[in-house]
Symmetry: C2
Subunit: 159 residues, 2 copies
C-alpha cells in the first residue's frame, strides 16, 4: 500500500516549522506504518539537546523503537520515513539499521545528503533497493529552509 505522501509531508512540515520556531535548522520527519498510521514524529533538536545526532529522523526513530520495544522496525511491516529534506549519511545509516527502506523526502541536500550528491549511495546496496520518492511539497520544504538561513545571515534567527 502506498501512503498518502502529501498528507504525511504536511505533518513533517509541521514538525519542521516547530523546529524553526525553536531556532533549529527546520527539518521535520514522521514514521508511518504500512497501514498508513503514524508511529512517531519529530523535529530537529540539535541545538536544544546539544547533540549532533538529534536530527529529526533519529529522534523519530528512537521514539518509534521505544514504543515498539525493538531496535528494528521491520516486524511491524514496511515503515516509511517521510522527511522534509534528503537524509544525511548518519540518518541514512540509522534508518538502515532500524530496517527502514522506504523514504519520502521534500528536497535534496547537495551538501549533506547521503543518497545523492557527492556520496551518491543511491547506487549502492542496500540503498539501490530502497523505495525512494522525492520532491513532495518541495517548494514548502525549500522556502522554510531558505527563510531560516536568510534569518541566520541577517542575525534575526530566533532562539
Amino acid at each position: 500500500m502506498q501512503i498518502d505522501a502529501e498528507k504525511w509531508m504536511t505533518v513533517a512540515l509541521g514538525e519542521a516549522r516547530e523546529a524553526f520556531a525553536r531556532g533549529e535548522v527546520p527539518v521535520g520527519a514522521v514514521l508511518v506504518d504500512g497501514d498508513g498510521r503514524e508511529i512517531a514524529r519529530a523535529g530537529n533538536r540539535t541545538r536544544e539537546m546539544k547533540d549532533a545526532t538529534a536530527h529529526a529522523e533519529i529522534l523519530a526513530l528512537r521514539a518509534a523503537e521505544l514504543r515498539e520495544g525493538d531496535f528494528r522496525l521491520d516486524h511491524i511491516g514496511p515503515v516509511t520515513c517521510v522527511v522534509t529534506i534528503e537524509p544525511c549519511l548518519m540518518c541514512l545509516g540509522a534508518l538502515s539499521l532500524a530496517r527502514i527502506s522506504r523514504i519520502v523526502f521534500g528536497i535534496r541536500d547537495e551538501k549533506f545528503g547521503g543518497l545523492f550528491g557527492k556520496f551518491n549511495l543511491i547506487e549502492r546496496s542496500p540503498f539501490s533497493e530502497w523505495e525512494i520518492t522525492e520532491g513532495v511539497l518541495a517548494d514548502e520544504c525549500h522556502e522554510l529552509l531558505k527563510k531560516f538561513f536568510e534569518n541566520l545571515r541577517n542575525g534575526t534567527a530566533p532562539g
Copy 2:
C-alpha cells in the same frame, strides 16, 4: 600530538568487554582530546536501550557533547575516536557532524563498515582528509567479536 593508540584501545576494549557481558555486540569506543585526555567512553547498548542508534561511538559522542555543552567538538582541539571496529555509516556521519576527523580502530567491518568495504567512503571528502589508523590491538578486537558470534550461534549468548 599523537595519542597513545594502544593505551586507548585497551580502554575501548574494556568497554567492549562490558558490552559483551551485557549480551550486546561487543564494541567499545573512547574519545580522546589533543592533550591525550579522555573526554568520554561507551560500549554498545542497542539491545538494552532498544535503540538501533545506541552504538558505542554515538553514546560516547552524546556524553562528550553534553559534557562540553556543544554539539560540535572541534572547539576543544583535535578529538580522536578510538573504537574497536571500523565505524558504520551512521557513526561515520555522526562523527563528521560533531567535527571529529581522527579515528583509530581495531579491525575492519566488511559488512557494515563505512570507510572501507562496499561503501568505500575513505576516497570521498571529507573522509579522504581524515587521519585514520587501523589495526590497533586487532587480534583482541577480533577475538572478542568472534566469541560473541560463536556464542550466539551456539545459543549460549548472555543476557
